[in-house]
């Protein structure tokens, strides 16, 4: 009899991987998150910390860990809805997250710009309104790789979402109202831009083969976090050249001016060692210094991954308001981000 050959991922059953991951998170970090019975929704454990505050939720397909459940906790998210891998969650689950996150001050949803997510969160919002819960939202579309026009779905939401969550989380924790949070999100959004480069694609467990294939010496600029196609393939370049290309695209958007202040996030896609990410950040910061630009907040690591994809993304947030930097540095206590 032929033995079953398991796909080389640490899992039991590809169809149960999300459920088992959600359980694993709740079992490993009960001080941060708990699972809503029978749902793929994780909620902040420290309930007292949410009293009288606007609830902040997000969600979407999984496979981007630690995003987003890793950011549940004091000073950041109230609840996260986990869809199947790379696939939007359903409205009933989102509704449950809204209901649990509502502490009388309404709920704000951070949605990444994918048509499935938008529609499902929209349905949930309509249902919540019937429950008399005040729900507002922002659609994050920081990925500048995609042309933004009426002829496309628009830009995708990628790693910049984490900075949006950090800032709004600080505001919510400080007692901002739902309208204030909505206004803040709208203010921040146009200043938040990300661009990535992939060295290899992710393999979705149920699919069992990578989303695309790059030659041994090829990279692809602008790939999305679900292996969506990028804008150019070329021969692998040294780190400094990769940084140059990504910064050039960001400069097209921002028009770097000496004395501009930015938050800078280098995000590993999943399989790229921290060593490489730090080398890349060094090149980015040196080149930003050449532009005369100030980097006031810098972070390096796996914040918004794409399963086992290799590569990095670079996010810049132009700090138009001093308050935003304070909000980035505001105390936070989650699985994946802690600041005293």
């Amino acid at each position: 009899m032929k033995e079953v050959v398991y796909l080389k991922k640490i899992m039991n059953d590809a169809t149960q991987i999300v459920t088992e991951m959600v359980d694993g998170m709740a079992l490993s970090y009960p001080e941060y998150v708990k699972r809503l019975d029978d749902l793929l929704v994780l909620v902040r454990s420290q309930e007292e910390s949410m009293t009288n505050k606007v609830g902040l939720i997000t969600g979407g397909g999984t496979g981007h860990e630690p995003a987003s459940a890793g950011y549940i906790g004091e000073g950041m998210l109230s609840a996260v809805v986990c869809g199947q891998i790379f696939s939007s969650p359903t409205p009933d689950q989102i509704l449950a997250a809204i209901q649990t996150a509502d502490h009388g001050k309404g709920v704000f949803m951070i949605i990444m710009n994918y048509s499935g997510d938008i529609m499902n969160f929209d349905m949930a919002r309509e249902m919540a309104v019937m429950d008399d819960i005040d729900v507002r939202f922002i659609v994050v579309d920081d990925d500048i790789a995609v042309e933004d026009s009426t002829y496309t779905q628009g830009r995708r939401g990628v790693a910049g979402t984490v900075l949006m969550e950090k800032i709004l989380g600080a505001a919510a924790d400080s007692g901002a109202s739902l309208s204030e949070i909505e206004a803040l999100a709208k203010q921040v959004l146009p200043n938040l831009k990300t661009i990535g480069v992939a060295l290899s694609a992710a393999t979705v467990p149920e699919v069992g083969k990578p989303g695309f294939t790059l030659a041994e010496d090829e990279v692809e600029y602008g790939v999305g976090i679900h292996s969506e196609p990028g804008y150019r393939r070329e021969e692998m370049q040294p780190s400094a050249k990769l940084a140059e290309e990504l910064l050039a695209r960001l400069n097209d958007e921002f028009n770097f001016t000496p004395e501009d202040h930015y938050a800078v996030l280098v995000n590993g896609m999943g399989a790229t060692p921290l060593m490489e990410q730090f080398v890349f950040m060094r090149d980015v910061l040196n080149q930003l210094a050449d532009f005369g630009v100030q980097a006031d907040f810098t972070k390096v690591g796996n914040f918004m991954t794409s399963l086992d994809m290799a590569g990095v993304s670079l996010t810049l947030l132009k700090l138009r308001e001093d308050q935003w930097l304070k909000q980035l540095n505001y105390p936070v206590n989650t699985i994946a981000m802690v600041r005293k």
Binding site: T90, D92, S115, G116, M119, N120, M123, V146, Q153, R156
Partner: protein, 193 residues
């Protein structure tokens, strides 16, 4: 006539087609999207069949049962769109038993949900011509197939397929194909013609 039974017959035909073509729908989606349209709908198909086993009392609750099965099990763009369509059928069927009116309302709700119009290479490119034909009473299998085929030469401007842009031209839209199954079965049950 619109009854609990004809809806169940319609749905069972659709879910059978979806499950038989799960791999094909995934394949279509993997060319221009993320390869899960068949899997998404197959989950929904199982849920619809389960929901209809305990036969609802009346037409609106039948539509509602289908809607809730889709809404809670499919996910992704198609889950929201088909879910919205059947939720709207549930609402509209409380006012009328005219299937054409019901379909028209459902289509409008989908357009609103998807912020989208026919011509963007989506399932709406099947809904629009079929509903139009239904109004005139001349739906045929050919009308449906032509509508599905028409998406082949379109460029996607909504949904994941819009990321591949020009490269989407020359391939059928997976949602259009699954909506084709939906209307073929509706025609066979005799609810449109």
């Amino acid at each position: 006539m619109l009854t609990v039974e004809t809806i169940a017959q319609w749905m069972n035909g659709w879910t059978k087609d979806i499950k038989a073509n799960k791999g094909y729908l995934n394949e279509l989606d993997s060319v221009i999207g993320d390869g899960d349209h068949g899997s998404n709908l197959a989950r929904g198909a199982d849920a619809i069949e389960a929901a209809l086993l305990t036969a609802p009392d009346d037409v609106p609750s039948t539509f509602k049962a289908v809607a809730m099965a889709i809404v809670s099990k499919v996910g992704g763009a198609s889950g929201a769109l088909y879910g919205t369509a059947f939720l709207e059928m549930y609402k509209e069927s409380q006012r009328t038993t005219d299937m054409v009116k019901i379909l028209d309302k459902a289509m409008k709700a989908m357009e609103k949900r998807g912020d989208s119009k026919p011509g963007e290479k989506t399932m709406l490119d099947v809904w629009e011509p079929v509903v139009k034909a239904a109004k005139r009473g001349n739906v045929t299998p050919i009308v449906i197939d032509d509508a599905v085929e028409s998406t082949k030469d379109m460029k996607a401007t909504k949904g994941r397929a819009s990321y591949v842009g020009e490269k989407s031209i020359g391939h059928l839209d997976p949602g259009a194909v699954s909506s084709g199954y939906l209307f073929h079965n509706l025609f066979e049950v005799g609810l449109v013609g």
